[in-house]
């Protein structure tokens, strides 16, 4: 089943350039609001991200990220409130600590560090959000499809 889907995906993309699919976890209070603001301000950015809204970046279990990579997402992006701005007081600090470790671990596995990105964007930073998405998309695109976890047997 997995093979068929990845095959059909590649078929669909033969006529134009390969486009990565990036999963984005956005915290409800800052980054998700920042993404909305980018929309309201009509700031254009590449259509590669798919957003999962979470209450706080602290909610994100490292396993979610690993699972996304296992499932064939080409990149994962996590964005929360700026350090010190957390709606839940310290959630983003907890997240920052956790993701620091996860990133090291992923690198140890052989996942390119640029595939998994962490950033901060506030509810007033629509422009910054768009810039970060452009940057992330470019980074992941350079890396090519995520095949590290593809089953070979």
């Amino acid at each position: 089943m997995n093979e068929i889907t990845s095959e059909s995906k590649q078929m669909k993309n033969t006529d134009d350039e390969w486009e990565p699919k990036i999963l984005a976890f956005l915290c409800n209070w800052c980054s998700y609001a920042g993404a909305d603001l980018a929309g309201v301000s009509r700031i254009q950015y590449p259509p590669n991200i798919r957003v999962v809204r979470v209450p706080c970046s602290g909610r994100i279990n490292p396993y979610f990220i690993v699972k996304a990579l296992l499932d064939g997402w080409d990149g994962v992006l996590v964005s929360g409130c700026h350090p010190g701005d957390c709606h839940y007081l310290t959630g983003n600090l907890v997240a920052r600590r956790r993701f620091g470790i996860l990133k090291d671990l992923l690198e140890f596995f052989g996942i390119e560090p640029d595939r998994v990105n962490f950033m901060w964007a506030s509810a007033a930073e629509g422009e910054r959000f768009a810039v970060l998405i452009r940057k992330t998309t470019k980074l992941v695109k350079k890396m090519g499809p995520n095949k590290k976890f593809e089953k070979k047997w």
Partner: protein, 1004 residues
């Protein structure tokens, strides 16, 4: 006249919104009247807020959305007050609702009209630094999100009417006059900034690169005219040298500005300098100021950080002139340094820290409401109740009564609500409406039957991606019974359609693909609830704000993304379950820890409302710190005030006072606390239950070890001097009195300002001069912080001959005791080293926290202390009297050094906040919270460390042994615990691991 259980709040800035929310949550009907077209006031215009550098929009917008959606708040924008009659308890107000020329019921806020409008109007929100259309909202996150046509600019071309698919534009819409009947009124019109008049000294209006602080605030903002880049208006270059000038239009006795201090400019200037440097590191800010008035909680630390970490340079000087350098448009500033030399420097940009004026319509409001204004045209308020205007039943909060910052405004807003509670308590709950809802349909265990509604949003979605294609795709997803599309899913007729569809197709999950859940989720949740579905059986896919609007030129890819987003929402919907909100009973009794002014004011307010109150005081008698104070600077008789309070407390049957009391245990949580107190000389033990706690434990005066205090009897404290002045005539045979400010404040041990000492010193200096005009009074100071209207007394003291001499922190005065003579040696910049002989040396000792007491109480209540051992509130800006732990509040000196008036406001504010809990028989807690799978939990306790709300503890379970337990009342559902649980034993309802996995996986 019969009292009315409704309140009118005039002005919907942060103050008005807070007051409206507090009252609406306590069971009053609130009419919130705003003169502009959206709520939020000045705070919505700010980029960041001091001293935490919080993003203003991030913290204010959830509050505004809540205000806009509250069942008991009737919000009217674009209004004008016509007429007010009546008295406390029963007022009738005539309000003119001016037409927006757009039907607010129909307008969905999609914004197509504004984009098509051919006319450019000045963008007032961005302070004229940008343009926008004549058909517009004030700012993108505006509440309510309803567009308005500015008839001053509109040319009546009719394009907007043509493009509006919701048919909301009505050019002939008329103004409407309404009569509103309320029991009390809160005035919160805010302030207007000082605008330097034509021909001003600073060249504002003449030189392009001279801007006001509020304009600069917009320049800093990410949503401002330059998208957060700091550029100067003349040529769009980055200004490397930026000068900030303080006291523009404040502390000005020339008649051009205002004589009072605007209280907030020192801090917002420091913030703007810091943020400018943070945005672009090449910017080097210089601040010209007279005194640095960083008198609030943690403000001094912010100033120090600005200087040390952000390279902000402070120059103590008021500049003498600005001229523009014609070739470069730079600005040449001439000023005199402290040692008297005249310097000329060039800057790329100049920011004027403009003061706060009373609102432009202050006179109008005063006349309409029959309240008096003070000499500066701010609302006159009671000396011991800063929110009470001259007319009973009408209260004022925020900058309308004096210039103040956001936390003080929010505190006063709650305080005004607290006073309204006191006035109208017997009418509580009489005018609010409660919806009757059908019983919830039981869906657990049934196979998911999902209905998907996809919105065109006029052309906002349908114009940029293929909605029919997405609908077709959705209808083929597993468990989707029906997929439909609508022109506007949020319109009233679609709500009916959704409800009918739920019934017809027996849907048990609903997905809406449209705009953002942040604004529209509650609306749809309400709809499905009305159809009998649990609110949480709902999912949203954001295919507008995060798809069609940001991929406007990529039809195929936007369509593909929308499909993915819809599929992810459907996948999640398949896994969602109904969530029941837990209801808790509330014990309608209160505990107040501390019997000083704050504690007593709070206790009386509670008792007036009929709540039984337990007041605990450690000392033998009530009164606290204020027992040592005779008068306030403004002339209020403190001793009389306290004895009056004590008398009222003792005669009130609902208040039980425990003196010489200590708390043994406080147990429980919001609504249900149980406390044991040991009190009296016989150490009796009493146990009682209560629903809320107010911490008002106060603070103490610093006991100096410096300046020979305790060694020489001519060295006394300011409080001792006050006693001497008020109870004896000893001052009459004194020739010279020297006061030293900042003793035990603003140093390494206590790195904060004690706020009240400057006013105390000036008060006593004035009294000394009054009793003995021949006495020489010298005040040695670092900064004189007579903020607000206190500035008047500073000036009066100077006029009466009190001498003020500045000293630096690293060169404090030196005291030499020679027999019966005291000599004070001091290095000054202007006069070199000087020596003053004195009969009396008065030390203005600071306020320090009761460390041990506070630590003990903090531990019992599970609330935090700051570095200086004062209690730390839930949010410095917007929750100044709340703790993160619900049901616990703080007031008075326990929070930080403050004046008596501030303490009284805070006490009333704490009461108002507590009443939002006490006014209900049972409280509902958030449904999306954490839950523990005990079978998986190993009891490692990692979650406890991550929980910011102390909601988790380890318990011994009969079957599973030592496991974590989440107190669902305290849990806020952030998920910090679940993200960290190594056994996957914790899940967050509404954001469960299973649901998120479903979203991630199942791609095709």
């Amino acid at each position: 006249m019969e009292k009315i259980g409704a309140v009118m709040v005039v002005g919907a800035g942060i103050g008005g919104s807070q007051a409206a929310l507090d009252l609406a949550d306590s069971g009053y009907k609130v009419y919130l009247i705003e003169s502009t077209t959206s709520i939020g006031g000045v705070m919505a215009q700010l980029d960041k807020t001091f001293p935490t550098n919080d993003c203003a929009m991030c913290i204010v917008s959830p509050k505004l959305v809540e205000t806009g959606r509250h069942q008991n708040i009737d919000l009217s924008i674009n209004c004008e007050i016509q007429d007010v009659i009546g008295e406390a308890g029963n007022f009738t107000i005539k309000v003119l609702k001016k037409s927006l020329y757009i039907n607010p019921e129909k307008c969905t806020g999609c914004g197509v009209c504004g984009r098509e409008c051919p006319v450019e109007a000045i963008d007032v929100f961005n302070e004229g630094l940008a343009n926008y259309a004549a058909t517009s909202v004030k700012y993108p996150q505006a509440v309510p999100l309803v567009f308005a046509i500015d008839k001053n600019y509109c040319i009546g071309c009719g394009i907007c009417q043509g493009v509006c698919k919701a048919k909301a534009i009505e050019y002939d819409r008329k103004d409407e006059e309404v009569e509103i009947n309320v029991g009390a009124i809160i005035l919160a019109p805010g302030f207007d900034e000082y605008i330097p008049p034509e021909g001003n000294l600073y060249g504002y209006g003449k030189y392009k690169n001279v801007v006001t602080s509020i304009e600069f605030e917009r320049i800093l903002s990410a949503s401002g005219p330059y998208a957060g880049r700091v550029l100067r208006p003349s040529d769009g270059d980055v200004p490397e040298k930026v000068a900030f000038l303080q006291c523009v239009g404040s502390r000005d006795y020339t008649g051009k500005g205002k004589p009072y201090c605007s209280s907030v400019c020192c801090m917002y200037t420091a913030k703007e300098a810091v943020i400018a440097h943070e945005h672009m590191h090449q910017i080097q800010p210089t601040i010209f100021s007279m005194d640095i008035r960083a008198y609030g909680k943690d403000f001094d630390k912010y100033i120090i950080r600005a200087q040390e970490e952000y390279e902000v340079r402070y120059i103590r000087s008021r500049i003498s002139s600005i001229t523009e350098v014609p070739e470069t448009k730079d600005l040449r500033i001439k000023y005199e340094t402290e040692d008297g030399t005249v310097v000329e420097e060039d800057y790329h940009m100049v920011v004027l820290a403009v003061g706060l004026n009373p609102p432009n319509d202050a006179q109008f409001l005063a006349e309409k409401f029959g309240v008096e204004l003070n000499e500066y045209d701010f609302a006159m308020t009671d000396i011991f109740n800063p929110v009470q205007t001259s007319k009973p039943g009408i209260f004022a909060c925020g900058a309308f009564s004096s210039p103040k910052d956001i936390p003080d405004t929010v505190t006063q807003a709650s305080a005004a609500a607290g006073c309204v509670n006191q006035l109208l308590h017997e009418k509580k709950g009489t005018l609010i409406t409660e919806k009757t809802l059908p019983p919830e349909i039981f869906v657990r265990g049934q196979p998911p039957r999902i209905g998907v509604f996809i919105c065109y949003c006029g052309i906002n979605i349908g114009g940029f991606l293929d909605v029919p294609e997405v609908t077709k795709y959705a209808s083929n997803l597993p468990n989707v019974v029906l997929a439909d599309n609508n022109l506007y899913t949020c319109s009233a007729d679609t709500q009916t359609l959704i409800k009918d569809t739920i019934k017809e197709y027996h849907l048990n999950r609903v997905v809406v693909a449209s705009c953002t859940p942040r604004t529209h989720e509650p609306l749809f949740q309400e709809t499905i609830r009305e159809a009998g579905l649990n609110r949480y059986l709902f999912q949203m896919a954001n295919i507008r704000d995060q798809c069609s609007w940001v991929h406007m030129n990529e039809w195929d890819k936007a369509t593909e993304k929308a499909k993915d987003l819809v599929r992810m929402a459907v996948n999640k919907a398949r896994n969602i379950e109904a969530i029941e909100r837990i209801k808790l009973p509330v014990t309608q009794k209160t505990l107040i820890v501390g019997g000083g002014i704050s504690g007593m004011v709070a206790a009386l307010n509670f008792a007036t409302q009929g709540y039984e109150t337990f007041l605990i005081e450690k000392q033998k008698e009530l009164g606290g710190f204020a027992r040592h104070i005779y008068n306030t600077l403004e002339g209020g008789n403190v001793q009389e005030f306290i004895s009056d309070l004590i008398e009222k407390i003792n005669s009130n049957k609902l208040i039980r006072v425990f003196t010489q009391a200590e708390i043994e245990i406080i147990d429980g949580y919001i609504g249900n606390f149980k406390t044991t107190v040991i009190h009296g000389s016989k150490k009796e033990k009493t146990e009682f239950e209560h629903g809320v706690v107010i911490v008002a434990t106060g603070a103490k005066e610093y006991q100096p070890t410096e300046y020979l205090y305790g060694q020489n009897n001519k060295v006394i404290l300011q409080s001792e001097f006050e006693k001497l002045l008020n109870t004896s005539n000893d001052i009459n045979d004194k020739k010279s009195v020297v006061m030293i400010q900042c003793v035990g404040s603003r140093n390494d041990d206590h790195p904060y300002c004690s706020k009240m000492c400057c006013a105390e010193a000036i008060k006593n200096a004035l009294l000394a001069k009054q009793k003995n005009p021949n006495v020489e009074v010298v005040v040695l100071f670092r900064d004189i912080r007579t903020y607000g209207f206190k500035e008047k007394y500073y000036r009066e003291a100077r006029e009466k001959g009190v001498i003020f001499i500045n000293y630096e922190e690293n060169e404090p005065p030196e005291i030499i005791s020679e027999g019966s003579i005291l000599k004070i040696k001091l290095k000054t910049l202007k006069m070199g080293e000087i020596t003053i002989e004195s009969d009396l040396l008065v030390l203005s000792a600071g306020i320090i926290a009761k460390r041990e007491d506070n630590e003990e109480l903090a531990k019992m209540l599970k609330v935090p202390l700051n570095d200086d051992n004062f209690f730390l509130e839930a949010h410095v800006k917007l929750r100044p009297v709340d703790f993160a732990t619900e049901g616990v509040f703080v007031a008075g000196l326990a929070h930080c050094p403050k004046t008596i008036e501030d303490s009284i406001s805070q006490a009333n504010a704490a009461v108002a906040r507590a009443c939002t809990i006490l006014s209900k028989d049972e409280i509902e807690v958030e449904g999306k919270i954490g839950e523990i799978d005990m079978a998986r939990c190993t009891g490692c306790g990692m979650c406890i460390d991550n929980c910011a709300y102390n909601a988790i503890e380890l318990i011994d379970d009969r079957r599973f042994g030592r496991v974590a337990y989440i107190n669902s009342i305290l849990c806020k559902g952030c998920g910090a615990c679940a993200g960290n649980c190594r056994c996957a034993a914790i899940d967050i309802r509404g954001f469960t691991g299973e649901q998120i996995f479903a979203m991630i996986t199942g791609r095709n």
